[in-house]
Amino acid sequence: MAAANTEAAAAAPPTAAPAAPVQVPRGQVDLVDFIDWTGVECLNQDSSHSIVNALKQIFRDDEGLYLASDSDEQLLIYIPFMQVVKLHSALFKGPEEEGPKTVKLFSNKEHMGFSNVNDYPPSDTLELSSNHLAENKPVQLKYVKFQNVRSLTIFIEGNQSESDVTKIHKIALYGTTVDTTNMKDLKKIEEH
């Protein structure tokens, strides 16, 4: 049901205003609350335009803040989660020219580097068009591959205009959590 909705929306002509609210897919939540911020890493990012600008709640909605690459156009983003999640869809927002084009997602691969990024087959590959970037609508992922995700690695291989710098305004991940024990809820049994 949710899948049908998002596919239909993606096929429809893009909405006019970029400030249109994001349609979170039915039954999914925005996983930004479950990101373990202490472990988030981004290789080849420009230190003044860091990953935080694209991922964090308030930063990512600010049009002036973006994530930019440094030495060349590739980016390698590592996002660990605080608990196991299922990934449903992902949203990328960026400028028409320098926004990401080819995005490879790896599930549960720790500490990858640019050298071994081509050694493993990705869990999913997205080819983003400039429509995707402007629409503010999430792109569906291969749900079956992302059932048990502890960490996600996003490899951005190139951008729309093949320029040296890739810019991303927003990255949002949608999915559900797998019910695991929330340690904070764990309370000591009162003894009489």
Binding site: L43, N44, S47, D70, S71, D72, Q74, E110, H111, G113, F114, S115
Partner: protein
């Protein structure tokens, strides 16, 4: 205290046989490596250091990153010198070694000692640098030994390509008297970005700060005589400055913050004494001098330092000097009082002296000092102003004449 994994690339090519760094380039390099390993492991116990060669039998990793200092020192032993250094391959191998570090939380750093000529183009080096930056690896270069025209530029270009937010550094060490390790001690390679590592600070006798955990920046355990000499000269200087301040005194108001003032005083004098003592420490390491000579030298240096320091003291508020010593403060107050008193007329001064007035009254016929009216007069005399005192005085001599 940054958590770091470091790979040190040693240049053991034929060029290291040269003796322009005492005793040989290779030995100087080995000493520097030992020092760096010590500093890194001390600054953070979880830091790891690895060592590899760039020449000799080829690019080989001698020790993978470990926090065991003994292993590192042992592997340096028995290294042979020969062949040519392969910088590009060495950096790649170092990168690989760092990639497979056990603790992925550690920052990656490569320290390369480059003593032989660099045969690569600037372009190639820049590509290497970019690749390092992309993988978030910092690079420190120690440029020593052979220096042809382009080597410093090439290496600067490499550092510029790698550098992101000032985490990579380059140090050029020209041949000379100073040991390679001593020169490196004061560089960011040792002190790191935060500018603090207890090992480096105590070893370098912090010329900049003047005190880094130890008084006078010299460890009393390491060099007790020097520390004693410094302390004595400090006290002598302080006494001299107080004497000068007393002479130049004008103001008496005691200001607050006397501790701060006196300590800043000390710092200014010590900062001047520091470079002298630093040089003295270095000299001592190289050629053991007579202890007396050193003492003399330290005293002479601190005196000279004090001479220029006293000028600032003279400018400083006299209250600061006075506040240090309560006796001195009292003395100053009295001297100022005297000064103020001397501005009054001499006559009033005379009348301050009660006994003198009483004796005059006694000599006058018909005046009984015990008479209440006389007593009142005496009291009023002390409370009156100049003019009345003058008038009385002029009356009395006339009376006496009669």
């Amino acid at each position: 205290m940054v958590l770091e994994a470091t790979m040190i690339c040693i240049d053991n090519s034929e060029w290291m046989r040269n003796g322009d760094y005492a005793p040989s380039r290779f030995q100087a390099q080995a000493d520097a490596v030992n020092l760096i390993c010590g500093a890194k492991t001390q600054s953070n116990p979880e830091n790891t250091v690895g060592v590899m060669t760039m020449a000799g039998k080829g690019v080989r990793v001698l020790v993978t990153p470990t926090s065991d200092l003994g292993k590192i020192l042992a592997c340096m032993h028995g290294l042979e010198v020969g062949a040519e250094a392969n910088l590009a391959a060495a950096i790649q191998v170092a990168q690989l070694a760092l990639k497979h570090r056990q603790n992925k939380r550690q920052q990656q750093r490569i320290i390369a000692f480059i003593g032989s000529p660099v045969k690569y183009d600037k372009k190639v080096l820049e590509t290497i640098g970019k690749k390092l930056k992309k993988n978030n690896v910092a690079l420190d270069i120690v440029d020593f030994g052979e220096s042809d025209d382009e080597k410093p530029e090439k290496l600067e270009a490499l550092i510029a390509a790698v550098n992101s937010s000032d985490s990579s550094h380059i140090v050029h060490v020209p041949p000379g008297d100073n040991a390679l390790s001593d020169v490196l001690l004061s560089t960011p390679i040792f002190t790191g970005e935060e500018g603090g590592s207890g090992f480096a600070a105590s070893a370098a006798a912090a010329a900049a700060t003047g005190a880094s955990g130890f008084e006078f920046g010299v460890d009393p355990n390491v060099d007790p005589e020097l520390a004693l000499a410094l302390r004595l000269s400090m006290e002598e200087e302080r006494a001299r400055q107080e004497a000068i301040a007393k002479k130049a005194a004008e103001d008496t108001s005691n200001t607050e913050n006397k501790d701060h003032a006196s300590s800043s005083n000390n710092d200014s004098v010590m900062a001047e004494a520091e470079p002298a003592t630093n040089a003295a420490t270095d000299d001592k390491k190289e050629q053991p001098k007579d202890d007396d000579d050193l003492l003399q030298q330290a005293l002479a240096m601190s005196m000279e330092g004090g001479a220029s320091g006293s000028a600032t003291v003279a400018d400083a508020d006299m209250a600061e000097a006075g506040a240090v010593d309560p006796d001195l403060a009292l003395a100053l107050q009295m001297s100022v009082q005297d000064a103020s008193m001397s501005s009054d007329s001499d006559m009033s001064k005379v009348f301050e002296d009660r006994s003198f007035v009483t004796s005059i009254l006694n000599s006058l016929p018909g005046v009984d000092p015990n008479d209440p009216s006389v007593k009142d007069l005496l009291a009023s005399l002390h409370g009156q102003g100049e003019q009345e005192k003058k008038e009385d005085k002029s009356d009395k001599p006339e009376d006496e004449k009669k």
